[in-house]
Amino acid sequence: MDLATYVLIALFAPLAGATVQIFLGRRLPRHGDWLCVGVLFVSFVASIPTFNAVWANPAFKLQILSEWLTLGSFGIPLGLQVDGLTGIMLTVVSFIAAFIHLYSVGYMHGDPRYSRYFAYLNFFTFSMLGLVLADNFFLIYVFWELVGLSSYLLIGFWFERPAAANAGKKAFIVNRVGDVGFFVGILLLWTQLGTFRFEEVFKGIAAGQMAGPLLTVTGLCVFLGAVGKSAQFPLHVWLPDAMEGPTPVSALIHAATMVAAGVYMVGRVYPVFTPDAFVVIAYVAGITAFFAGTIALTQFDIKRVIAYSTLSQLGYMMLGLATGGYVAGLFHLVTHAFFKALMFLAAGSVIHALHTQDLREMGGLRAKMPVTFWTMMAGSLALAGVPPFSGFFSKDAIIGATLGFVMAHPQHLLLALFAVGGALLTGLYAFRLMFLAFTGAPRDREKHHHAHESPPVMTVPLVVLAVFAVGAGWGGWFERLVRPPVELPHGPAGAHTLALALSLLAAGLGILLAYWTYVVGKISAGRVADRYRPVYTLLFNKYYVDELYAAGVVRPFLALTRGCAAFDLGVIDGFVNWCGRFTRGVSRVQGWIDFRIVDGAVNLVGNAIRAWGAVLRLVQTGVVQNYILVLLGGVLVILLLKVL
């Protein structure tokens, strides 16, 4: 089998699984979970040859081209491509997804829609793999939307809960907002360059066929798509709500599929963005990185804390990409995928054991769930960026890129503050979570008493992922495979050393603060919160962004729709109804005609016409002499008209 076949197997195995599962799942033994997990491992295995090929030759490029539809000179291509970046993503996504599937076997055990769940999960993976492999804008958009659909289905998987149903809907619609931007961006590119294919678009831009403000706007449109999918400020609101989905789904969304799509896409179409566009992106990313971190400090839902940490890390990735750290940003995407999947699965393990997500009801779980504790600890260290865990390498590179960028453009100093401040916050909230959940005395004895370590089907994935969370940063393999598609400016020489120092310092400080507060108790979290009550409230309520949307967008919009409906009924439909009523009113004064809508078939024009007819009836008095008068009058009128 040649490589293309492997790629196609890797892509379509999950789709096949999903298709079989949706129709036959309930009739299969064990409701088909083995099938779905199996196809994912097939997919993963099939992706290994690709990885090998890329590994052997980093400049490797494979294209599978076809036409989806052709209409004369217009056509939409259907193409897949494999290069270093896709090679990594393909492997990583299928790998992580495979273990999340495996983990789900334990986690979702006994759910009434167990088979449906696996179908969705398969489909989600398929969508993401397709997105990774797409070689043109149109196709990437298609899979982009399919990813959105899968997330909708899975976030709202427990749709009996209104919160879950709402969260699914919210995710889809917020993403749609971004998608429209993406689509408009694609349209602009198509209009200017006449092609959807990445390669040709890049060539065109390199040749200067599209440049200046138009390209900047186009780039920002495209980026808007990533803002939605990768939950950047201000379209980040769906991601925390998405925690309503089953925890493995959260892991999948946060680690390998959904949110990664945006970052991946920005990396994929990197040449589309102008330096001006990157400045905007950098600020959006910086804001996201920092503020999401602040919110994470105040949350008590274990999954929400991790969710906000994801937001923050996504900000880092974007920040890296935007400030010239192309490799750094994407590298963080990969390392983050490992440790975030790990953290979610570990959190899921905790939730599975305690049946609560509230940190305030946890504590002292370290002894009861050692595997979970140690693996999660590995994840947290990676998240905080402590060497030699994987997160350290990627995050350090991002901060380095940012500092380099800031040194070259000192007016953007704020970005550096965001980056370093965010690193400090990361350490703080990551270990706040760890300490609250696993150390100290159990705050809910009842729950603690029933807690136990999860079954192997759940812990094995934890361990596997932990290995990668620890080691994925070693060896510089990523730099070897991924090369920037454009020439990037090199930051000042000192930036990297400075970044190393600053990031280590920030992470250490953050962890230390957490230790003092939650283990030693030197700082009372409650007291701090009281002292800065307004700030705390602001953070606790996530800067009121949701409320702002509700008041500023959703409610006015619903009012608009109601207004339109009323307009439709009242004005357009009622236009001649009004004429009718008017005429009817006149007639009623004369007290002559019963305008009751005798037959119910009153119609717009009808009323008016009826009314006029009724008036004309009055002339028909029944007295023949009047008729003759009309006759003579008619003759006279005609005569007068003739003479005049």
Binding site: G606, L616, Q620, V624, V630, L631, G634
Partner: protein
């Protein structure tokens, strides 16, 4: 056009009138002589008479175009067209009458005799080529109509209808005769075919001529029930026995159109090339008639909307249709005339059909009110379906005959160019308005719930309804033969190549 001055020779070309007159007298006499089954016999005789009339009319076709009786009458395909038309519509009335209860048993002989008499009058009117002949024929139609309208003299409504009809008709006729006297004064002739030259020669004051023409128009307008000469129609239609109403809404109306066309196109227009005319002496009578047409259809339709009595509703609908037909009249070309004649044919089928349903249901339903038609479709399906078809045809919805008729009218207007576009627009808007009241009847029959209990319609009526229904549908799908016949019938003044 060849003229036959010799009266005896002329008689050979007036055979339809002779046959009708003969049977008219025969029925009266037979009614006096025989005592048993007089009604049945009179009906049979009337049918026989009409059949013979039809036969002799058809035999006149080879005669081509001639003027008879010293230019008093014209015999041409145009006249023959109308004679066939009148025979046909009267035949429908004769056939439907026996199964109804309108006509008192003892007076059926008179009734059928009068039906033949009115047919005779209409036939003469279609042939009339001289003002004297027009007046006489018109009066024959009118006086017979008065009598038929008041035939159920025991009923107040019928008597009232007759009185109003008579007074209104007499006034209209009087006005017309006065107008004719002026016309005679201006032209010095009473013959239609001599008038154009006389007018051209005379150099009469245009206003005087206009007044004369206008007064004559009163008489014709009354016959076709065009606004503002229409006001007798609703009352008479409502009060008269329904079979008579049916006849009045078709026969005399068509006769009015026949004389209107012949009068204006022979006397007040001069040919300007094949199938085209110009008005003589610059009297702008096309515009006058166009305005009358627009007002007629609009007023008819608007008032019809509020009617609750079916006969009255159909009366107003008939007024509106006169307006439609007049649209073809104003164009001064063969297309317009062609459309008028074609429309008259389909109008006869659908309007007689609609009245026939009303008549057929008047017996079992004991009502001619719209409200009593509620839920009719479930009580007796066939008449209801047929009624719906007739009404939709009257609206002008394809693939029914009424659409083709309207299509020809609008086509003629559009072809004439932008000058008459406004009239076409008025026409189509009126079609839409008319749907409103026609659909009301359909709605009552099909969509509303009414009393239960099946109704039985006389089988004679069922057959007759079917006989009218088939052409109403068929002519909407394939009308080429009728189109050819109509085309041929346009020869009223020498060959009128379209």
């Amino acid at each position: 056009m060849p003229v036959i001055t010799d009266n005896i020779a002329s008689l050979g070309y007036a055979t339809p009138e002779l046959v009708l007159a003969g049977f008219f007298l025969f029925i009266l006499l037979a009614d006096l002589v025989f005592t048993r089954n007089r009604g049945q016999m009179a009906c049979t005789l009337a049918i026989l008479g009409l059949a013979m009339t039809l036969l002799v009319t058809l035999r006149l076709y080879p005669a081509g175009e001639r003027l008879l009786f010293a230019k008093m009458m014209a015999i041409d395909p145009f006249a023959l067209f109308f004679k066939i038309f009148f025979v046909g519509s009267t035949a429908v009335i004769v056939l439907l009458s026996p199964a109804t209860a309108y006509i008192p048993r003892t007076r059926q002989g008179e009734y059928y005799a009068f039906l033949l008499a009115i047919t005779l009058g209409m036939s003469l009117l279609a042939s009339a080529a001289d003002l004297v002949m027009i007046v006489l024929a018109l009066e024959m139609v009118s006086v017979t109509s008065y009598l038929l309208a008041g035939f159920m003299k025991e009923q107040a409504a019928s008597a009232e209808a007759a009185l109003k009809y008579a007074i209104y008709g007499a006034v209209a006729t009087g006005t017309m005769v006065y107008g004719m006297s002026l016309l005679y004064g201006i032209t010095g002739t009473t013959n239609l075919y001599e008038m154009p030259q006389a007018i051209a020669r005379g150099g009469a004051a245009p206003l005087a001529l206009f007044v004369a023409v206008l007064l004559v128009l009163v008489g014709f307008g009354y016959k076709i029930a065009a606004v503002p000469f229409h006001m007798w129609a609703p009352d008479v239609y409502e009060g008269a026995p329904t079979p008579v109403t049916a006849l009045l809404s078709v026969g005399p109306k068509a006769a009015g159109f026949a004389v209107l066309i012949r009068f204006f196109y022979a006397a007040l227009a001069v040919p300007a090339g094949p199938g085209r005319w110009n008005p003589v002496a610059d009297i702008d009578w096309p515009l006058l008639v166009a305005v009358i047409s627009a007002v007629t259809m609009t007023v008819g339709n608007l008032i019809a909307i509020n009617q609750s009595n079916l006969k009255r509703l159909l009366a107003y609908s008939a007024i509106a249709h006169a307006g439609y037909i007049l649209m073809g009249f104003v164009l001064l070309n063969g297309q317009g005339l062609y459309a008028m004649l074609f429309y008259l044919i389909v109008y006869a089928f659908m309007n007689l059909g609609a009245f026939l349903v009303v008549i057929a249901l008047a017996g079992p339903l004991r009502s001619e009110e719209l409200k009593d038609y509620a839920g009719l479709a479930s009580r007796t399906a066939f008449p209801a379906v047929a009624m719906a078809v007739f009404l939709f045809s009257l609206t002008g919805i394809p693939p029914l005959a009424g659409f083709v008729g309207k299509f020809y009218l609008f086509a003629a207007l559009i072809e004439a160019g932008r000058a008459w576009l406004w009239l076409a627009v008025v026409g189509v808007l009126n079609s839409v308005i008319s749907l409103y009241y026609y659909a009301r009847i359909v709605k009552a029959m099909f969509l509303e719930k009414g009393p239960s209990g099946r109704l039985t319609v006389a089988s004679a009526h069922q057959v007759l309804i079917a006989a009218l229904l088939i052409p109403t549908v068929l002519l909407g799908i394939y009308w080429a033969p009728v189109a050819r016949f109509t085309d041929y019938s346009l020869r009223l003044l020498g060959p009128l190549a379209r």
